[in-house]
Amino acid sequence: MRVATWRRDLGRKALLAVPYAWLVLFFLLPFLIVAKISLSESRVGIPPYEPMVQADGLHVTAQGFAQLFVDDLYVGAYLNSLTIAGLATLLCLLIGYPMALAIARAREDRRGPLLMLVILPFWTSFLIRVYAWMGILKDEGLLNHLLMALGLISEPLVILNTDIAVYVGIVYSYLPFMVLPLYATLEKLDPSLLEAAADLGARPWRAFLSVTLPLSVPGIVAGSLLVFIPAVGEYVIPGLLGGGDTNMLGTALWDVFSLTRDWPGAAALAVAMLAALVVPIAVFQRLQSRLEREGER
């Protein structure tokens, strides 16, 4: 009996070790390397930073971090990234929630094909899809031609190379990451709960607000994190769809890396970006799980 539990325990631990090993190998180790570079001194050479341990002692500097706060460029980029990612997440939620709900409530044999349609764009390269949006949004593009043919506008709208195009690109690209976890939560909802609400006299809207919505919070949180986190560091979409004035952390990071060859400076920015994102998210997660536990009690 004892041995059996012990064995089961070992099996569970071994299974848990797999994702941990993955995280250590592909997240923690690379991050530690970047963190180490961020504290090194820049130099002209291979590699372009001084080794940390040398014969004359330890070479560590916070210069890479200090230059982040010389003026408000990077703080501005940080705040701007949060704003853009936050707004894009909200838009994804507003568009994605009805989609997920519709799929979850669709006839069972239609759900598969509908989900397939959500996932289908992933079969083409992300870059090609962003380029396609350039063709849609440009002055002489599909959208403007359509609007002009319908007589809605007489002059083409300038959308490409503005922040609006950046939002369109981010919302489009990350929408599936919102829809899928939401669908997973909504699909599991017991429909008899809604029937009960209706029996008790709740109109559909009321039932949605007090039954469906609260029960789908885990899906909302998961989807929002899946959209928000990559959107904050987004680099390709503002580059291709924006006009160069979309000051985001990803683009700022690229400028430091490519224009100055300052690996420690770029690494410091990357570490700061991660810290500025991971810490609030970790706090949020902890708060949320505590609330859930209290709710259970």
Binding site: I46, P48, M134, D139, G243, D245, L259, T260, D262, G265
Partner: protein, 367 residues
Amino acid sequence: MFARLTRFAAAAVLGMAATIAHAEERVVNVYNWSDYIAKDTLEKFTKETGIKVNYDTYGENEALEAKLLAGKSGYDVVFPSASPFFAHQVKAGVYQKLDQAKIPNAKGLSKETMASLAKVDPGNAFGVPYMIAATGIGYNVDMVKKVMPDAPTGSWAMLFDPAVASRLKSCGVSLLDTPTEAVPAMLAFQGRDPMEQTKESLDAVMGALAPLRGNYRFIHSEKYRDALASGDICVAHGYVGDLVQVRERAAKAKKPQTIAIAIPKEGAIVNIDVMAIPADAPHADEAHAFINFILRPDIVAEITNETGYANAVPAADTLVDEALSKDPVIYPPQEMQAKLYTAPPPAGLDFDRARARAWSKFKAAKK
């Protein structure tokens, strides 16, 4: 029994021969820009020398530099732009000295090009020129005429004169996303030394650029090619080699556009792409053989004919298509050549940081 033995021995001998041949198989690992060589160059090289070529391509100097600075790239021949990339990499100790005895064809290289390359690589110790192209302005002739019939098309004023840029804004103007191109161009427009790299000159340039920000539809180093070819913008700051390809494409498009290219009269940067051998190249001998082969007039002329970039081998000029060799933006006439300069080598981390920061801020300012 005997027959079987002989067969066995024969197989063994054959096998050994194969191993020896394999050990002696010579290879060279080449890392070049995409679309930057003639179709059969590599094939011809292998046929003549027996050296197999492993050929990889990149799209940006930064991609090459990141690999080189990380070390142990495994490449034998690379093609960085002379300045600031090659210049910085030479300082960082990325390359090995070329063995001139193994590159006899280097004697046929243009003295002028070698001299301007020597500014970033004293004595031409580490690299030889591959292809050359200036940075200039590409514009849509009809669109510009419509908005501003008297536009100063041969001048940086198209981009940097507030009175001009604010009018061209309506049909779309773009800038290259790199201060190493934009800052010297603005200095040339201001009548200053484009090679200057002082805090004062940087402030003067950024001060003049800031109020112009709203006139640039986008600041990007690649997007302008499609945008100019399809008539989405009318003026682009761009690399002449790219612009030549845009001009060709635009002329053949469904809605043909007439694109003209100008090397501004105030002077412009000329980009020399260099062939160099990393210090840790695994096949240095083969790399030298490859460079020597490329510098042969008939070979380099074929590359020019296919890519539209000028080469630095005067003996190849007669072999280059006349449409290219007579084109003043590809082979600039003597008086223009005097106004072409190589971008200054990196001034140091402090200046680079100040310039990168100023550039990021300029870009980020809301239109």
